[in-house]
């Protein structure tokens, strides 16, 4: 079966930015909030052919299919444990040894990609933005909003640079 493919299958944009989180769970909304910031930015900067944005509540096995034919992938998520305002690092495929694979790590999604495609995934990076409160019905905390803005500025810098140069970019 080759045709069960990502939404509205077409020529893939070279860069995929995948944000995730629940918009109604406090600072878990950092991911979807970043999606909306980037959506406007990409529209205004005419980057639609180069960058595709996707968002979801959490990562799952089928998201490995979304990575196909990309030159680079950037995952963006809230984190309760990262440095403030954010951390950025390159990902490697890794078997997810955690039990809770219902919320897969990006590295585990890359591992699924490698297994089902029998090839290495595209160069992939993780941007985790520090969050603090994650209760149902809560909004973003003030500190998370500030972190989100810092992260957004950093992503703009990434998207204006070739993927090959991403590892050289400094965080702050």
């Amino acid at each position: 079966m080759k045709s069960i493919e990502p939404s509205e299958k077409r020529d893939h944009s070279p860069v995929l930015v995948f944000t995730y989180g629940n918009p109604s769970r406090g600072d878990d909304a950092i991911g979807p909030a970043m999606f909306y910031l980037l959506e406007r930015y990409i529209e205004e900067s005419n980057e639609r052919d180069n960058v595709e944005l996707l968002t979801d509540f959490q990562l799952q096995i089928e998201h490995a299919v979304d990575l196909e034919q990309r030159q680079g992938v950037l995952f963006i998520d809230a984190s309760q444990s990262s440095e403030s305002p954010y951390e950025f690092h390159q990902l490697q495929p890794q078997r997810d040894n955690s039990y809770t694979t219902h919320a897969m790590s990006p590295a585990a999604v890359l591992a699924v990609y490698r297994q089902i495609n029998r090839q290495q995934p595209p160069p992939s990076y993780m941007l985790t933005i520090r969050g603090y409160e994650f209760g149902l019905g809560q909004g973003l905390t003030e500190q998370a909003r500030w972190n989100l803005q810092q992260g957004f500025d950093f992503v703009k810098k990434l998207l204006s640079t070739n993927v090959e140069s991403w590892p050289k970019l400094k965080q702050f």
Binding site: M1, G21, S98, I116
Partner: protein, 496 residues
Amino acid sequence: MTSELETAEHPKGLKRTVIEPLTRVEGHGKVTLLQDEKQNIKQARLHISEFRGFEKFIQGRPYWELPVLVQRLCGICPVSHHLAAAKATDMIVGAAELTPTAEKIRRLMHFGQTLQSHALHFFHLCSPDLLFGFDDEVRHRNIVGVIEDEPEIAKQGVLLRKYGQEVIRVTAGKRIHGTGAIPGGINKSLSKDEIKYLKRDIGQVIEWAQQAVELVKRIFFEHYDYHMSFASIDSNMLSVIRNDGAFEIYHGGLRARDEKGNTIFDHIDYSCYGDYIREGVKNWSYMKFPFITSLGQENGWYRVGPLARVNNCDFFPTPLAERQRREFTGTAEGRTVQSTLAYHWARLIELLHCSESIAELLNDSDLYGNELLNKGELQCCGTGVIEAPRGTLFHHYEINDDGIVKKANLIVSTTNNNQAMNESIRKVASQYLDGNQLSEALLNQVEVAVRAYDPCLSCATHAMGKMPLQINLVNDKGELLDRLEKRASGEINRTV
């Protein structure tokens, strides 16, 4: 039955074992096992605390927002909440019936949702237990382990789930936060290109679904006695049923049967659910304990979900699933199938039925019809009930004159299974906990029992950096005897 274990007579003199959170289960749960000085299990309780706030989250919002808003309750089954809320708001806007186009597109969406959810559960969450056995090395029991050893099966799981997601995307308009169902109908029909796109792979999906049922049967029969007895409990069964007794997951009356298959009630209008089902409370749990009113709380608890649905229906309206149902119910020798692990088998029969039903619907010209909405006189309340992948899901709303929700009551599938999960845990713990040492094997067996229900203990918060598992062993004096911590990397540390 082990219900006498729920509350010990003198709990202060007991040793407490805490297992939290459950793994490969949505959200966080905690299991507490209390032992006496002879190391017998005296109490077993499944604590789930994450359902607080659902109703409050909804109150004060306009009713027309509900089908979209409630999707944020759960990142795993947003479509179930979407459709249950849409059905409740159909009643509120006075739409006694939907147009054929609206109803069939909603059904298609629901079949897609159930297919992808069941595919995720079998291939991703539970098949590692079944394929490799409960005692397999822990890190080998996740999906990546399956992919490594059974790459074709794993790939089928990924692509089956992807297909279900595509059905949702096409019918709901978006991958997530879809707006397809609205009060009184839907907001768009399908184009011929969309139907053609979905038709392209449905033959393959049916073939894989058939193979999956054969696989689970093979596994089940290889260790038949063990699979039939593990965490097995006698329970009543509740589900929605079609007017003619056929299997139904979108719309129908309520049917309840006891463990012998005797009917307790049948074809009940679900808007009267409060006359037949009550929600009991216990002082140690935030989650309620629903029961069949006429039987009382002690005897009236029930199971929902695939096991209940396949047991309760008289037949499947699709031929391949019906053939499988006959074989399934044939194992019960005139009773209902009560094996907890038979949930997996029933789930895959449903997956097959969903794939057959999707194929049928894709040939129905109503899918690209133009009549999308029905409306009538505004009502002050509405109830929507569907069979979500995990079981019967109730949404009940009351609104004020301005259309604002003033009261909401949700009974989610996992709540319906609350008592049953407790009973299954007690059964396992009574059989397998030996001595005062926590073991990874016991933990896994408790989790295997709970996972069979496919519970969704919470919703989609998933922020990185959380500790996925901690087990504490505390004696009757409150002293911590033992603690195991399992990190996201799979590393296990004993910290006492």
